[in-house]
């Protein structure tokens, strides 16, 4: 039985690759012909673009200065660049400008930053920060800073020892270390200015997210949703690092910073101390709801928006109730942290659907009326459009295969759970889609006002789950679930989907063999960049998805591409290559595929990744010749 299954697998796999490769080459040659014919037309069209019907608020997405000072590009988190030197026609000529080894062979999830003529990159644990001088040939190292985090922190980081990037503001680089420090460096010299110890690894707390600097405050959240760590977001004073406010994501209202300003849109989020009463006694203290993802900021409304992670443990039998305020989203006042509204994507989460993905802030007409919206491709499989002033759900459409729920009730705002896929202790539930890693995990999407499309890198996986008993021992995992993942419908484990926000449907979608665990960036040249876990860095047409160019890097890509204008005035594209993260832990952590539940079940879907790539850690920067 077992042998037969094993020998069948590689054949199916090869067939899949062949099927997907052939049309790609075909479309590439067609495109080349089209581009030759229509080249002049395209340039003429781009000179007088029609006014975009969907665009980020100007205050949150100022005119492009060619720099890249925060991982999401701007406060609206569009990951869109106005640079257009690289376009659909010439992207095929892209070539390597320079490379740089990070010296760390773990998952490279960070976005490089470019400020002036310096590039800044941060590595996974041990979280080394490098500054590269872009004004000199080969971009030599200007300085490096080694924070020497506690090695024991590696043992309490759930899914590889990643870091998602740094932030720049007022001449300083801010970043977090795995062992719970936030550090400010002088961007010119690399000298530390302050170092705030805000996380405790002995209760399983780590920090992997990229901070966001808003109005002189460094916003940081913790990781540890698999360790029974109570989630929080803190605002640190950018000048000296002292904690200005802390908002917990579980517990009594005073800890969550819920006060008179709090006006949630739906009845399910109204009531006193829901962060206590929607849990069994005391369970909120070890209930997760961590903030390890993305924050957006709307200066006009003076609101920050951030998600909250999964409730702990994963086994839902141990925490009856809605488990506020986990797997949801808060709008807060950045000055004092006061909550303005909340919406819960997944009440009483059954499948580890963290709610921490990126939120793209846009202004658009919705059913004839101009609305300030927040777009969120969520882990539970829905593409949400929220009114960001109130938290009202305008639209929630699945952007891939979903059977764990049956839609979102727009009247109550509540996710309609599928009772057939309800997990619990001693029960094996099969073929749940999407997986614990979600239809889309942390990997951030990009939005182009030119096309009105959101470019979503995501997964296509399903899973079997079995709830098991679990004891809470501080500083050790608190999960209680056996998971094994399998490829989703179609067999392709990943996809890159361009979603038409106004039409509430996909414009096009590309199949990828492995989950697309890298972020995306889109440019005014109508080129979208993303990477694959085999190591291909790809440029595709923002309009059609046609492959324009690809380059095979040394390791699988799970990082965030950026684009910038170099000191020579030309456009560059940068990406960190280096497989790892939860999806790539089988390679970066050398895990054993004999065990279907390794890496919380992800290894079962990634058995062949060790044959496709090896660990690495290299920065690649591309430009036109």
């Amino acid at each position: 039985m077992k042998q037969a299954a094993q020998s069948a697998r590689p054949c199916a796999h090869q067939a899949r690759i062949k099927r997907s490769a052939a049309p790609r080459q075909y479309s590439q040659s067609i495109l080349a012909v089209l581009l030759l014919a229509c080249g002049p037309l395209l340039t003429a069209a781009s000179e007088a673009p029609p006014a975009p019907t969907i665009s980020p608020p100007a205050a949150a997405a100022p005119p492009d200065d060619g720099q890249w000072t925060m991982p999401a590009k701007n406060y609206a988190s569009t990951r869109y660049s106005d640079l257009a030197e690289i376009n659909e026609g010439n992207a095929k000529n892209l070539q390597v400008a320079f490379t740089f080894s990070t010296g760390v062979n773990k998952g490279q999830e960070a976005a490089p930053l470019v400020v002036g003529s310096t590039m800044y990159i941060v590595t996974p644990f041990p979280n080394i920060v490098y500054a590269l001088d872009l004004s000199k040939p080969g971009a030599p190292m200007k300085w490096k800073y080694e924070p020497n985090p506690e090695p024991a922190a590696q043992g309490v980081a759930c899914c590889d020892v990643v870091n998602r990037g740094t932030a720049f503001a007022d001449g300083r680089i801010f970043f977090n270390t795995l062992d719970g420090h936030t550090i400010a460096l002088n961007a010119d010299s690399g000298q530390p200015i302050w170092n705030a110890h805000i996380g405790n690894i002995n209760i399983g707390e780590t920090i992997t997210m990229a901070p966001l600097v808003v109005k002189g405050k460094v916003l940081v959240g913790n990781s540890g949703g698999e360790m029974g760590v109570r989630g929080w977001i803190k605002a640190l004073d950018a000048s000296d690092g002292h904690v200005v406010w802390t908002a917990y994501n579980t517990g009594p209202d005073k800890d969550v910073l819920i006060g008179p300003d709090f006006k949630p849109h739906y009845d399910m989020d109204k009531g006193k101390d829901l962060g206590v009463t929607t849990w069994p006694p005391e369970a909120w203290k070890i209930g997760g709801g961590n903030m390890w993802g993305w924050i957006s900021y709307d200066p006009d409304l003076n609101l920050i928006f951030h998600g909250t992670g999964n409730p702990g443990p994963w086994n839902p039998d141990l925490r009856p109730g809605d488990n506020k305020w986990t797997s949801g989203i808060f709008a807060r006042n950045p000055d004092n942290g006061a909550a303005q509204w909340f919406y819960q994507w997944t009440p009483h989460d059954l499948h580890d659907y963290d709610g921490i993905n990126e939120q793209v802030l846009l202004n658009m007409k919705w059913q004839g009326k101009p609305r300030k919206v927040l777009v969120r491709p969520e882990r539970n499989g829905y593409l949400y459009v929220l009114d960001r002033t109130t938290g009202e759900v305008l639209s929630a459409k699945p952007f891939g295969p979903v059977n764990s729920s049956k839609g979102v009730d727009l009247k109550t705002g509540r996710l309609v759970e599928n009772p057939d896929k309800k997990t619990g202790t001693g029960k094996v539930v099969r073929d749940i889609c999407p997986t614990a890693s979600g239809l889309k995990d942390w990997q951030p999407s990009a939005f182009s006002p030119k096309t009105g499309l959101l470019y979503i890198p995501h997964n296509n996986l399903c899973m079997d789950e079995e709830g098991v008993e679990v004891n809470y021992i501080a500083g050790t995992p608190y999960v209680g679930m056996n998971v094994r993942m399998i490829p989703g419908p179609g067999g392709n484990r990943g996809a890159f989907t361009a979603w038409d926000i106004a039409a509430e449907k996909p414009a096009w979608s590309l199949k990828e063999n492995f989950p697309v665990w890298s972020g995306a960036v889109v440019t005014a040249g109508d080129v979208v960049f993303y990477g694959t876990m085999e190591g291909w860095f790809k440029a595709v047409s923002a309009k059609t998805g046609d492959l324009l160019w690809q380059f095979k890097t040394s390791s699988g890509i799970i990082g965030q591409p950026i684009t910038y204008r170099g000191p020579d005035g030309h456009q560059y594209v940068a990406i960190l290559s280096g497989v790892g993260g939860w999806a790539g832990a089988i390679v970066s952590g050398d895990l054993d595929p004999h065990d279907a539940t390794a890496a919380l079940g992800f290894v079962n879907a990634m058995k062949d990744l060790k044959n496709a790539t090896t660990a690495g850690g290299t920065l690649y920067v591309f430009r036109l010749p």
């Binding site: 679990v470 021992i473 065990d595 890496a599």
Partner: protein, 177 residues
């Protein structure tokens, strides 16, 4: 005579079975005991000396009761949270042939008891010493290193990997399925 031989065979078999299932009714329950020095490297200037062995190592590893208790405790103490069901996750895989701090019972016991610098916590104050030996024995069975007559057989619930008593020896058969 024939009856006597049959009886002898039966008694021998029964005694053998006893050893497989032998249970210590008064287990050593003290915390933080077991101070045997366990080198974490095979490199010793001037040549290797015989490594110290603990008499519990062999007896626990061949004992079905201790192995099954080890399997229960592996979930109980959240070992499975980091090492999954042997394939690893936050922590390294335990069913392959790669051992960072040694593959002997003594080394694994020391790893659980004292912790290791890159993330393995010390359970000295959490787990009674005999239960650490049971965990160490079970960990070795994940790599096919325990006698198949004593190693646990298939689970009643989700089959996460081939049962421990059918697990190939990781050191000789490699790890790729």
């Amino acid at each position: 005579m024939r009856l006597g031989l049959a009886t002898l065979v039966c008694v021998t078999l029964a005694l053998g079975a006893c050893q497989r299932e032998e249970r210590d009714t008064r287990p050593q329950s003290s915390l933080g005991s077991g101070e045997q020095p366990t080198p974490v490297t095979t490199l010793e200037p001037g040549g290797q000396r015989p490594s110290p062995s603990d008499n519990k190592a062999a007896s626990f590893e061949a004992n079905a009761f201790h192995l099954s208790e080890g399997k229960r405790l592996f979930g109980w103490f959240n070992c499975s949270g980091c090492h999954a069901n042997g394939g690893g996750g936050m922590g390294p895989a335990l069913m392959d042939e790669k051992w960072i701090y040694g593959s002997s019972m003594e080394s694994i016991h020391a790893t659980i008891r004292d912790g290791r610098p890159n993330g393995m916590p010390s359970f000295r104050e959490k787990i009674p010493d005999d239960q650490i030996w049971e965990l160490a024995a079970f960990v070795r069975s994940l790599g096919g290193n325990a006698p198949s007559s004593a190693a646990p057989s298939r689970n009643d619930d989700m089959m996460t990997h081939p049962s421990e008593n059918r697990m190939p020896d990781a050191a000789t058969l490699g790890k790729s399925p």
